[in-house]
Symmetry: C2
Subunit: 359 residues, 2 copies
């Protein structure tokens, strides 16, 4: 058949790949293709990017920096399929705003406008739709972004799952700001804005009847203000990333791979709340791979690191910011953790997803 695509023979230059493995022998979509790890990257690189062409290869899966009418814009989209719709600390409505606002913030842009597309399942309670819409509106006002345009589709019962939401967002990138992994150089300091693993564990705690004794609330928040405070110190930050699906491990691996620098982190410096560590121990998860929704990781030139850290700690969403490592010349493209025992271990890119549908 002429329109059958041989997925083992990609049409892009193999030399340009940064994903560590070829596309697996998979003739069907598996949950891991939505996990933000290696499988997601392969789907983009082998299927979407060659089909879409243009600069999409470099930009898919991230916020795009565009020039339109002489103005520098960030443009990003995310779909939200979290289960359940309401969880400790938030809802799909909060995620739909903060997820996209944060993608824009990682370009240095303050989100100005959001689009909002609902895919509703026939039979879902109107009151649930209204509660989600209310949460979305409140989150938008809190983030200072306007919902400017929308769309609603309905699918038959059994062909959806209550409420799916897509948001896309646009915002201006300030002059002098150029946040890209390619700007990372050895010596850059790696800062994380607070405790990790909280969002994923909060979702798990209300799913499948799991309980951990302590209620863990999602850290879901809009990071535009925190990023603004950091850029006020210097526009010369090198790269920002919000470690959502795939967690801190995926974010650091993406930056290492795209920058060509090595990354070393010190395990004991990584802030993991006791409740998250406990839940992860029970479930056999590594907090480094668990999703966050209100945290960021920054690669900052060494000369600005202390001032940026001070500015982060002065912001309500960055009070527990910490330096966790640095970019190095050794092991280019690879993330290595110094363990508590004086050894090191490689922090791999996750393949699929430990926790499906956490956003």
């Amino acid at each position: 058949m002429s329109d059958t695509i041989d997925l083992t023979t990609p049409s892009v230059d193999p030399e340009s790949w940064t994903c560590p493995a070829p596309l697996r022998d998979q003739s069907r979509i598996v949950m891991g293709h939505g996990g933000g790890g290696t499988l997601s990257a392969e789907l983009v690189r082998h299927v979407f990017a060659p089909a879409f062409g243009g600069d999409a290869l470099a930009q898919l899966g991230d916020s795009a920096a565009l020039l339109l009418g002489g103005v520098r814009l960030a443009f990003s989209t995310d779909s939200f399929v979290v289960r359940p719709l309401f969880f400790p600390g938030g809802s799909i409505g909060d995620l739909a705003v903060n997820g996209t606002v944060n993608d824009l913030a990682m370009s240095g842009a303050r989100a100005s406008y959001l689009s909002c597309g609902f895919i509703l399942e026939e039979g879902v309670e109107m009151e649930r739709v209204a509660r989600v819409a209310d949460a979305l509106g409140r989150a938008a006002r809190a983030a200072g972004v306007e919902v400017a345009t929308g769309d609603t589709k309905v699918v038959e019962s059994g062909h959806g799952d209550g409420i799916f939401i897509n948001t896309a967002g646009i915002g201006l990138i300030p002059d002098g700001v150029d946040l890209r992994p390619q700007r990372v150089v050895p010596g850059d300091v790696v800062i994380v804005s607070g405790p990790i693993g909280v969002h994923g564990v909060a979702i798990l705690s209300v799913r499948e009847g799991l309980e951990f004794g302590v209620e863990i609330e999602s850290d879901c928040a809009a990071l535009g203000g925190l990023v603004g405070a950091m850029l006020a110190v210097t526009p010369d930050l090198h790269v920002l990333r919000d470690p959502t699906r795939g967690g801190l491990a995926a974010a650091l691996n993406e930056i290492a791979a795209a920058s060509g620098a090595g990354v070393v982190i010190t395990e004991r410096e990584i802030p993991v709340p006791q409740a998250v560590a406990g839940a992860c121990a029970v479930l056999g998860l590594d907090p480094m791979y668990v999703a966050n929704e209100g945290k960021l990781v920054a690669f900052v030139p060494r000369e600005h690191a202390d001032a940026v850290l001070d500015a982060m700690r002065a912001h309500p969403l960055g009070r527990e910011s910490r330096i966790i490592g640095e970019a190095v010349e050794d092991h280019p493209g690879m993330v290595v953790a110094r363990t508590g025992l004086g050894g090191t271990r490689v922090v791999d890119m996750p393949i699929g997803e430990q926790l499906p549908r956490i956003c």
Copy 2:
């Protein structure tokens, strides 16, 4: 319960409504809420708009015209849940590009960038995903728009329906162009760019085993070029609308309601292909209510009507353009058709959807 919303008591000013009926006693989402008719309008006006606030009330469900960094932008979004994924004349990939490109075109904007969010169902064949991506990429290149950013989520088998796609788009609105129903005045000439009802009937022809003897291909196309040719005659067009869900009837009713003008159309001037008329007769459908995906309706100042019509007919997508009616002072907000028998009939806003999931 304090968070139960009384849907019979809207929190917006009743005087500002344009929907003809109050929200029905519906505690659950029905298919019609996604149909682009009265039920869709009520969901937006009673649930989404009050929750989102701002200018959303006026703009939801349409392309938004925004000012960002001193530049006039159009911003729009649509989700696509068409069933089946491939149909005569196109696929969900073509729709995902053309639907959003056309929403922007109705603001006079040429689409520059698209975002693209996939919600895939676990188990869907990779080859289908690749074929859809290929169609989407081809449609984007044909429309001259770049897919700049994307996202992929996967939901468990039985919680989706193969492939859902959301696209959002941005484009520049040219100087001097101001397309809004509020600009319609009595005397404006109503032009349709070609035969109606084709897309909806094409979808139906391959669904549920229906066959009509003649293969009807969807008219799915990107209208940016046609709109550009019209605006080259004069930037002073009053309003454009692509009659998708709810068909020509919904588009004309939306314009009449928002403008406060009456609209009169002449039934025999409305181009309905023989095959569409035949299929509609068999199924008990009215072609006026059947979705289109590559047509537009324009309200044009009388002095420019002939020149605009000539320009439309000179464009490949407007060869069969026709004047079908005019805006009038009588019956404000209402659409009336002159029938073949010398009488008139009211063309109502559809309530729900004759043909679910046609886009």
